[in-house]
């Protein structure tokens, strides 16, 4: 015998409750709907929850600084910049939906942000289908300016290839050509591995050990015990985030940091702060730094102001993440201003190829062929305890590498990247 799931009375109750819930939701949006109609809304997607919450926060601070700087000068074409933030939760599915919401509901004129590569790729795809600009400020995978490139996608931070080449040549010169790699066994690690293999081939060196550590490895001891037998000149640690902290801590406990030089493609201040001082060793690629003439450029007023203002406003010095946010929004705003338009195609044309000076040493430009920001990258030695009076001053910048020397050539890129302007 079939029985009704809901009697009419229950249904009415349910419908009433549902409407009440929806009505409750609407007021949450009124502040956003009621904003000044002339503002230029930029959608900011960052992983405010999850493992990358630290970098997310710092990128956001960089974005905010740039927005404020422009708004103080009257905004873009007289319109104020408004940042509309959404938490992409480090989840490509959520990011895709938030991107759609930002473009379709909040009417943002461009999307910026993201930290993890999967999310960057997902948002790039959605942005492309919606015909909206997306500037990837913090996702490093080569594919964003490689085989998944699009006319509407740009990338500020350095690519994985740039990371390996900036540090690879430096490490080979400084320590030697017998390398031992500790590589995370997933996409990011594989691409780093490929990059380093390219460098080692060019300098005629050898990889004497390549330990692929699977996802979820918290204990690296089984891999570390193999290092002695391989007798490397330098140990390259390719793992990132929590894994990086675990690995270095354990290397220190096994006494390996005293025995072998250590280095790697990239390190950020955020995870370094979580590493005990005795494990802070080695030479690493860094993408920007707040306290060196090599990274900021001698006498670069803009850069020094940026650093000072960040410290004043947020209580701590900016990291490379702040720089990504700042440069991204600053250049986006400049391009809109130059193009005198917010039309994505016009703005894209106005971004690419334009050389500019900013808060870093020298000049940079978003390359026309793949939309990668070509700016220098640096290698730094870690100062375990900072400098006297500044516990944040963990980097002693030693080398600078020009973008063109470390990124793939235009010819190489054009084989995989087809921008596809409409």
């Amino acid at each position: 015998m079939s029985r009704p799931v809901l009697s009419r009375r229950s249904f009415v109750t349910l419908a009433g409750a549902g409407s009440a819930a929806a009505a409750f939701g609407i007021p949450a949006y009124i502040p956003r709907i009621g904003e000044a109609a002339e503002s230029i809304k930029i959608g900011l997607l960052e992983p405010y929850t999850g493992v990358y919450a630290g970098p997310a926060e710092n990128e956001t601070h960089g974005f905010e600084m740039a927005a404020d700087a422009w708004n103080k000068r009257g905004g873009i074409m007289g319109r104020k910049i408004e940042l509309v933030k959404e938490d992409e939760q480090n989840d490509p599915g959520v990011a895709a939906q938030k991107a759609r919401k930002l473009v379709n509901q909040d009417k943002v004129l461009a999307l910026v942000g993201t930290v993890s590569s999967g999310v960057s790729l997902s948002v790039a795809g959605v942005a492309n289908s919606l015909g909206t600009l997306f500037i990837d400020s913090g996702g490093h995978t080569d594919d964003v300016t490689g085989k998944s490139c699009h006319w509407n996608v740009f990338r500020t931070c350095h690519s994985t290839w740039m990371e390996t080449h900036a540090t690879g040549y430096s490490l080979a010169k400084r320590f030697g050509k017998r390398w031992f790699l500790i590589t995370p066994d997933y996409a990011y690690g594989h691409s780093l591995e490929t990059g380093f293999k390219d460098v080692i081939a060019r300098v005629n060196g050898t990889i004497v050990g390549d330990e692929l550590t699977p996802l979820g490895t918290t204990d690296f001891s089984s891999y570390l015990t193999k290092i002695d037998a391989a007798k490397p000149d330098v140990v390259l640690v390719l793992v990132q985030g929590d894994d990086y902290t675990n690995c270095l801590k354990q290397m220190n406990q096994f006494g390996l940091l005293k025995k072998y030089p250590v280095g790697g493609p990239q390190v950020e201040l955020e995870p370094l702060y979580g590493l005990p001082p005795e494990a802070r060793q080695g030479y690493w690629g860094i993408e920007w730094y707040y306290k060196s003439d090599k990274t900021l450029g001698k006498g670069n007023k803009l850069a020094h102001e940026f650093v000072a203002n960040t410290i004043k406003r947020y209580g701590k010095p900016p990291t490379a993440r702040n720089a990504f946010g700042y440069v991204t929004l600053d250049r986006l705003a400049q391009a809109m201003s130059d193009a005198k338009s917010t039309d994505p195609v016009k703005v894209a044309r106005a971004i690419e190829g334009v050389h500019f000076n900013s808060i870093f040493n020298g000049s940079g430009y978003y390359r026309k062929e793949d939309h990668q920001l070509m700016w220098p990258m640096w290698v730094a030695k870690i100062r375990p305890d900072g400098s006297p009076g500044d516990k944040y001053d963990l980097f002693d910048v030693t080398d600078i590498a020009a973008a063109e020397a470390i990124e793939q050539t235009v010819a190489q890129k054009e084989q995989v990247c087809k921008l596809g302007y409409p």
């Binding site: 997310a56 918290t218 001891s221 089984s222 929590d242 801590k249 406990q253 995870p271």
Partner: protein, 290 residues
């Protein structure tokens, strides 16, 4: 290869000892009331963070090693009385879900209190060196972990076999109704049992904080291996958790030598195999799960 085997074996045993201590805590909680504590990792992380904060305020590492777990036990008992107790009559998967929700809250709370990046927690200088064992150089801290484990197990064994409370606990695992009928305060039993499991989690958490990184998401990585250990060793058997832990540690270490790609997934394959072939695990006893 043989020359590599020695260090890997030793390594695996010590690693296994660590998994064992986490698994025993889980097992204690599971055996008596059928509660599957998905927040076990969160309690561990809390202990690590508290130890870090205590040391930051000037206490010694040794003090923090005991004090932090004790504070976490208090939190644990509060959780047990308010959130876990209502679920005792229900099927195990309810506690699984509820504690899963708890772990989500905990992660965010830790992020709010201690920040989104990790915190630099390290063992005291006296434990930070390495011991030369001839065939390899081994971190003192890891040996310390093994020592702590042995002490904890011996203490637990003594508690369970030599004290009246321990006796009641063991009796309750076998037949709670009967022991209640005999006049024991079962609610107190449940609370203390849970507290005991959390205490072990706390100790493991402080040790993990010293060995690995300490961040809001630290707890997650250690939770699954602990569950796998309990399943393989046998639900209902503390001895099984020890053996299971050692086996897992060895398995992970040795597969690293032979098939590195498989080392983390081998854990789950092993888990599936055990569940299929002998769900009670190696030493499992008749318990909550039938």
């Amino acid at each position: 290869m043989i020359h590599d085997l020695g260090p890997q074996l030793f390594n695996g045993l010590v690693l296994g000892a660590f998994y064992a201590i986490v698994a025993i805590g889980l097992s204690l909680i599971m055996n008596l009331t059928g509660t599957i504590n998905m927040a076990h990792g969160s309690f561990m992380t809390l202990a690590g963070y508290l130890a870090y904060s205590l040391v930051l305020r000037g206490t010694s590492f040794w003090f923090a090693l005991i004090a932090a777990p004790l504070i976490v036990v208090v939190v644990g008992i509060v959780v047990e009385r308010t959130l876990v107790r209502p679920l005792y009559k229900r099927e195990p998967f309810y506690s699984l879900l509820m504690t899963f929700g708890l772990s989500l809250i905990a992660e965010e709370v830790y992020r709010l209190i201690w920040g989104p990046n990790g915190v630099p927690f390290s063992p005291p200088a006296s434990l930070n060196g390495a011991l030369s064992l001839g065939f390899m150089s081994f971190p003192t801290f890891r040996i310390f972990i093994a020592v702590v484990l042995v002490v904890a197990i011996v203490a637990l064994a003594l508690f369970l076999t030599r004290t009246r409370f321990g006796l009641r606990l063991r009796a309750a695992v076998q037949d709670t109704e009967m022991i209640a009928a005999l006049g024991t305060n079962t609610q107190l039993l449940y609370a203390v049992n849970f507290g005991l499991g959390i205490f072990l989690a706390g100790i493991a958490g402080v040790l993990a904080g010293g060995m690995l990184g300490l961040s809001p998401t630290s707890g997650n990585a250690l939770l699954m291996p602990a569950f796998v250990t309990v399943i393989i060793g046998g639900m209902g058997s503390l001895f099984g958790s020890i053996v299971g832990g050692l086996l897992i540690g060895l398995a992970i270490s040795l597969t690293t030598l032979f098939i590195p790609a498989a080392s983390e997934v081998s854990m789950y394959v092993l888990m599936a195999v055990v569940l299929l072939v002998r769900p009670r695990g190696l030493f499992g006893e008749e318990g909550i799960f039938g």
